[in-house]
């Protein structure tokens, strides 16, 4: 998955740092969907579509699992996680910081999570 995203983005004039950020955000969402939405079931799959428009790039992550409301998710405070010596809880924070827009859509066919990142010189 990371290789696929990197290869697609490499075809455009995007810096290595920006590419790494987007790869990370998509990785976090997919890991979240696989572990929580699909309970790590090896028979399930996640689909990733990447498309470009004049302003930037869209990542559509589609799955048939339980779904996860990333938009209304109440994220913990990093200070509290540190105090509690937590190792988890920061994946979604990273996605929200990196991406410019996050949309979700759930239908009978499955859940689509759309991530958008602005790109200056597309």
């Amino acid at each position: 998955m990371r290789k696929f995203v990197t290869e697609v983005l490499n075809e455009h004039e995007i810096s290595e740092i920006e590419i790494n950020m987007m790869v990370l955000a998509v990785d976090e969402v997919c890991a979240n969907v696989i572990i929580h939405g699909l309970q790590s079931n090896p028979l399930e799959s996640v689909r990733l579509d990447i498309s470009f428009d004049q302003k930037g790039v869209w990542f559509d992550i589609v799955d048939k699992g339980d779904g996860f409301d990333i938009i209304n998710y109440n994220e913990p405070k990093i200070e509290d996680l540190i105090k509690k010596k937590n190792k988890g809880g920061i994946g979604i924070m990273l996605v929200r910081k990196i991406m410019d827009e996050i949309q979700i859509k759930s239908t009978k066919e499955g859940n689509t999570l759309r991530l958008f990142k602005k790109i200056d010189h597309i």
């Binding site: 890991a31 572990i35 996680l81 937590n86 990273l94």
Partner: protein, 114 residues
């Protein structure tokens, strides 16, 4: 894939982290750091020169030791981070909560109070 090696060098424990610290490999990183703390090492250097990728799972491992580093007064220093990996530490401000140096020389200088 992650490859972790540790060695005792001078007055510090040196841990080399190579490859990718992600959801599937971060546990290995955690095990080796846990071991270092359990063995009461006071000086721990993490060589990230060949760390190509880090996700929240890898960051989370480092984050979970911030409290112990402080309460046990451990010198815990990361060095050799590539620009893209450094940027990931910066997203949530973890670069300000951990001690990060550019090179091994700078890390050991800090350790030895030079």
């Amino acid at each position: 894939m992650i490859d972790i090696k540790k060695e005792q060098e001078n007055n510090y424990l040196l841990i080399h982290v190579e490859g990718e610290a992600d959801a599937s490999s971060a546990i290995n990183l955690d095990n080796i750091i846990r071991e270092a703390f359990d063995e009461s090492h006071q000086n721990i250097l993490i060589d990230c020169t060949n760390l190509n990728y880090i996700s929240s799972a890898g960051l989370g491992v480092f984050m979970s030791y911030i409290e112990e580093i402080s309460t046990n007064s451990v010198n815990f220093i990361l060095f050799g981070l590539s620009e893209k990996v450094m940027k990931v530490f910066g997203i949530l401000g973890l670069d300000q909560l951990l001690t990060i140096k550019k090179t091994k020389e700078e890390a050991t200088a800090l350790l030895n109070g030079v």
